[in-house]
Amino acid sequence: MKKRRVLSLVSAAVMLTGIVAGCKSKEDDKIIIGGLAPLTGNVAQYGQAVDNAVKMAIEEINEKGGILGKKIDYRSVDEKGDPTEAVNAYYSLVEEGIVALIGDVTSKPSKSVAQKAAEDNMPMITPSGSEESITKVGKNVFRTCFIDPYQGKLMADYAFKKLNAKSAAILFDTGDPYSTGIADAFDAAAKELGMTVTNKEGYASGSTDFKTQLTKIQGSKPDVLLLPVYYNDVALIAVQAKQIGITAKLLGGDGWAGVQNQLDEKNMDVLANSYFCNQYDPTSSDPDMQNFLKKYKERYKTDPIMFAVLGYDTAYILTAAIERAGSTDPDKIIEELKKTDYDGLTGKTVFNENRNPVRLAYITTFEGKKEKVLESYSVD
């Protein structure tokens, strides 16, 4: 407890100096864009990916002359995945004179910041905050990633129409809104399509043993089993599902991306019969995609994850909107963001009336250790 208090005092002090410094450094020859991302802490890998990719994109744009004839100054702040820190960081960025905000990265801080940004009418676009309600807080809030319920609906539709599934089971993390969001939407959509949902089993966040739930699921022999969770859990569940003897096709959302790296060679076969919807196609021969993958890897010595791809597209979508707006007036930027029709790494993106992207998802499966995109798919 005490440690935390000291930490918050220190961070408050750091922020205060940031504000003071910020007031001095307002410059007219630059356009300042703010960024919020967890660069340290539990979800640091997502934040770093977004931040790295946004920096890369902004640099590219600056090399081509920037926007509105000025260079972009991208300033990102580490919010450690914490909503309170994120809001404080947002205020300090506002003090520094940002014209728009890229972030936050995960859902909870994104929502807290969105509420403040809505009060300020600050153009904000989150690359990866997927909880449905984030963009609902204000007309200034956009997002680049799919909302959670959309993925559930999409996978139910795909299972029914393409995999000819008649029955489905769900195993989800009850403590994670991402997981419950997809699970609930899948459940509703599957029933609407006429499928039977045999089991909807939950587990507590952080569990490692899923055999009981899987044994129950195996008893009802569903055609498909939806695992709307992140790759670490997917790896554990898929291995245990095979141990229990489940032969159902496994389905998942974008949280699956990278799951093959969480499995040992000997366990790789557990993914042989599984399908998940990804937001981009890393195997695409598109030169832009190949160029991005290569450049990112060279620069950051690691392969980009989905969050990086979303961050990269987000930077381009936002800067293009500012350029089209012809000024840094927030209303004009928001108006132009709404009109976005951008063909990027994730595909062609337009925004719907809730400022969520309308875009194709890539149904992905595995061939050995490699992801293989089967087709692009969408549902309305």
């Binding site: 890998q45 490692t208 009981t212 790896a235 499995l263 040992d264």
Partner: protein
């Protein structure tokens, strides 16, 4: 049929708890110390397997003894560096307890520094479905149960028949008298830590075989539950620790199956509270002669 499967799943999980609980129980029996760093020994065992197999590319038969030996060594080093001085100077129990927590935090954070906080994947034995009539179970569950029973039997023999085992018993009953009888109690204590840690390493191998993922904080909850198992069975008793582990595993599995999948931890710790209020000495903790 499903009921039987849930029981078997529970026993598989309980076997891991049991092996870890043995270490808690033995150390407590000898020095009345609740070694909270014991859970992290599992983590050390898991990462040793990972390094030997995945990073060095050596086969399983090298990795398993390496993991057991290293854990035993780490157990002894911890005892030497962190606890021995406190024991020699007859420090208060609370100092020992807090030192144990410090060791636990140190181990977790140093492994986080070395390997990062992201989980690593691992696989030990190839998995196979075993059919007994209409009953299906995975080879990992069967291995867990068989290995844990064998380990307990071996430990019982070691404690009751061997010279060092008898010395352990003597030290646990009255370390002062044991010393007067010419038993090097420090050596016995070090041996107990090594043995307990080796058991935890076996637990780690079974854990990795069942749940192919390791992370620096994996010992936290696992250690805590194994501790509950040790208390439930009667801390200080070897068969008690085993029994406690199995009961806990089955209770978790049945709670998940028939009550709620999110209430398992509540049930586990509920059992602990109930046990402590009804029979604080644990299921098999009555007979002091059972103590090691």
């Amino acid at each position: 049929m499903d009921f039987l499967k849930h029981i078997i799943n529970g026993l598989g999980l309980g076997s891991i708890y049991a092996l870890v609980a043995l270490g808690y129980s033995m150390v407590y029996g000898i020095v009345q110390l609740i070694n909270f760093a014991h859970g992290d020994i599992i983590m050390v065992g898991g990462y040793t397997l990972y390094v030997v197999m995945a990073s060095l590319g050596l086969p399983l038969w090298v990795a398993v003894p390496a993991s057991i030996l290293l854990c035993a060594l780490v157990g002894m080093i911890i005892e030497r560096v962190a606890y021995q001085r406190l024991l020699v100077h007859n420090a208060a129990r609370i100092s020992l307890l807090i030192t144990a927590m410090g060791v636990s935090i140190f181990l977790q954070n140093s492994f986080m520094l070395m390997f990062g906080s992201a989980p690593k994947h691992i696989s030990v034995f190839p998995s196979q479905l075993i059919r007994l009539g209409s009953l299906e179970m995975d080879s990992s569950t069967a291995i867990n149960i068989v290995v844990s029973v064998m380990m307990m039997a071996a430990l019982q023999i070691l404690v009751n028949k061997s010279k060092i085992g008898k010395a352990m018993k003597a030290t646990s009953e009255d370390s002062g008298a044991a010393k007067l009888m010419g038993i090097n109690t420090y050596k016995v204590i070090a041996f107990t830590f090594a043995l307990g840690s080796a058991m935890a390493a076996v637990g780690a191998i079974l854990y990795c075989n069942t749940y192919p993922q390791i992370k620096p904080d994996m010992g936290n909850l696992l250690g805590l539950k194994a501790f509950v198992a040790a208390v439930l069975g009667g801390i200080g008793s070897i068969p008690g620790a085993m029994l406690g582990g199995y009961i806990l595993g089955v209770a978790e599995s049945l709670t998940m199956a028939y009550i709620s999948t999110t209430l398992t931890d509540a049930v586990v710790f509920g059992i602990l509270i109930l046990m402590l209020s009804v029979k604080p000495s644990g299921l098999m903790g009555k007979n002091r002669k059972e103590k090691v």
